[in-house]
Amino acid sequence: MNAHEAAKRPRNRIYESRGEPVFQAALVVIFLLLSVTFLYPYWHVAVTSFTSPDYASASGFKLWPRAWSWDAYIHMFNASFLWSGYLNTIKVVLLGWSCSIVGVVLGAYPLSKRDLPLRTLFTSVILITMFVSGGMIPTYLLVNNTLKMRNSYFAIVLPHCISVTHVIIARNYFMTLPDELEEAAIIDGANSWQVLLRVMLPLSTPILATISLWVIVSNWNAYFNCLLYITDSSKYVLQVVLRRIILTDSKEMTAASEAVANSTDTDIVTLRAASIMLATIPIICVYPFLQKYFVKGMLIGSLKG
């Protein structure tokens, strides 16, 4: 067998080495083109945002601003609605994050106890919601009419704050922690709260950090609940402010926002680009450092699913 393999190997390698460099070169070219396709749109918008409005509506690829201009940014820096959007988004992210983490931990820790009474019932109550839901309108009527949460950030955060997958992932993690740790703490006189806060939470920082990342990104990008429940424009989150800037046509926008009151159509192209940049920069800045944690977290999540 070994001799047979040894006899075959060299021929194989020769066979491979003939095609391999060409194939690898082709792959590199394909992936370079793909990377350009993925990156160029951001670059295009970035360049547009720095281009003087007189040139912004020129057609074609933009590798570098034809005429530099900070006008759009100066305009946007003075736009109070953008900054209030930023501030509101930060509020929502903080509120959403705290509700989610508290909810996930309080759900996952008890359910990780194998002898918890009615454990199957509680788990089913949570799991069923993955397949059955009341839907957009019943939820809207509940939050808006029954609970009267209009214009409160709790309306944005509470309906979705506990994700079933996050609870299950955290529960599975808690179940992998050795029981002895908990028993030792109980012998030392700790009750369940103290065990949770002093023993379990410090041990589960990796999984909680991963869940935090997911929750923060999804709250940062969320706009739909704000669109549904927030009618007071001073409470709009960043994404909703952007949606108004990006999607409404120029006339409506002039009515909607004071910063663009005196702008012409060409200005709007650069203003839009600048606002897109201002909203994306935080993500692009942290992305390279956090990207691998997202990937790791995604794999933890999918192993279960």
């Binding site: 057609s59 059955v132 957009m136 739909f224 990006i246 680009a273 390279p288």
Partner: protein
């Protein structure tokens, strides 16, 4: 509760045992209270509101007080021209997205897996994940620039090649293809992660064996790689089929504009407009119930079929 447990001798010991367990876990049960409350209020509460589909909503009477109307809302739904159009759009767009969008991340993963330069590979991957983290609000803004008929580079390219500029986001002829392509652009990188992980788990010895047997690259991919990631593909397939009618609401909701309602209006956007904008609550609840039932049916049957065919299922 306690005295009842003590008096009934046959179930008494089980009940005592249960009560003891409750006492032992009382703090754990207490912790579950807010979580259960959240689920009961925000996930099960709306289920009661689904009865609206069979009622005529009167705002002053609320859901409970509104009169029952039987299947009137559904009759209106299935005879409305709008709804038939919206349903056709949903199915068409879902099928297009499925046919082109489902294999895309698998292909990307297969090619990435063949690539030999680790650093280049990692950088390419990271770049391809980026759109996943950016909201469709912003992506729509970006695409409006890039695909613009007057300013966009894509149309500049088309003009350079001698074609007429295309209004990708505003012409009924191209809107669906635009949805499919931009959808793939946004999700292909992130979607490939799970397949790359599955590819990493394929036994190296099988490749060596295939090489020994004289298999070339393509036959190795066909006979070793693909069977190796089949379980993952199956599970992703079930999930994809289950979400067929959920029509990637975020993307279409932001990209849709009145110029392309005829081809791009789908169940999600229709339900939103009828319900939230026109406040026709009963009608849109009926539409949504219809969609959710189809969705549930699809997940269950995809799971059933996949279990029959190759024993991999979600549950």
């Amino acid at each position: 509760m306690k005295t009842v447990g003590l008096n009934r001798s046959h179930s008494g010991s089980r009940r005592r045992h249960f009560m003891a367990s409750v006492r032992k876990h009382r703090l754990h049960l207490l912790m579950l209270v807010p979580v259960m409350a959240q689920f009961l209020i925000f996930k099960y509460g709306p289920l009661y509101g689904v009865t609206l589909a069979f009622k005529e909503f009167r705002i002053l009477q609320g859901i409970t007080g509104s009169p029952w109307v039987g299947l009137a809302n559904f009759r209106r739904l299935f005879t409305s021209y709008d709804f038939i159009n919206v349903f056709t759009n949903t199915v068409t767009i879902a099928c297009l997205k499925f046919v082109f969008g489902f294999p895309a991340p698998i292909l990307l993963a297969l090619f990435l897996n063949e690539l030999r330069f680790p650093v280049f590979k990692r950088v390419t991957q990271s770049i391809s994940y980026l759109p996943h983290f950016i909201s469709w609000v912003i992506l729509t803004g970006i695409f409006m620039e890039v695909l613009s008929p007057s300013r966009g580079p894509v149309n500049a390219l088309i003009r350079m090649l001698g074609g007429e500029p295309i209004f990708f986001l505003g012409s009924p002829r191209y809107f669906r293809s635009t949805l499919v392509v931009t959808g793939i652009w946004q999700s292909v990188g992130w979607g490939s992660i799970i397949y790359l992980a599955a590819l990493g788990g394929v036994n190296e010895e099988l490749y060596d064996a295939a090489r020994v047997d004289g298999c070339g690259r393509w036959r190795r991919i066909w006979h070793v790689t693909l069977p190796g990631i089949l379980p993952t593909v199956t599970i992703m397939l079930i999930l994809a089929v289950g979400s067929l009618v959920d029509d990637n609401f975020d993307q279409i909701f932001n990209m849709l504009n009145p110029a392309v309602y005829s081809v791009g209006d789908v169940l999600g956007t229709y339900i939103y407009r009828q319900g939230v904008t026109n406040m026709d609550y009963s009608y849109s609840t009926a539409a949504e119930l219809f969609r959710n039932l189809i969705s549930l049916f699809l997940v269950v049957s995809a799971n059933f079929v996949s279990k029959r065919v190759n024993e991999y299922g979600l549950w």
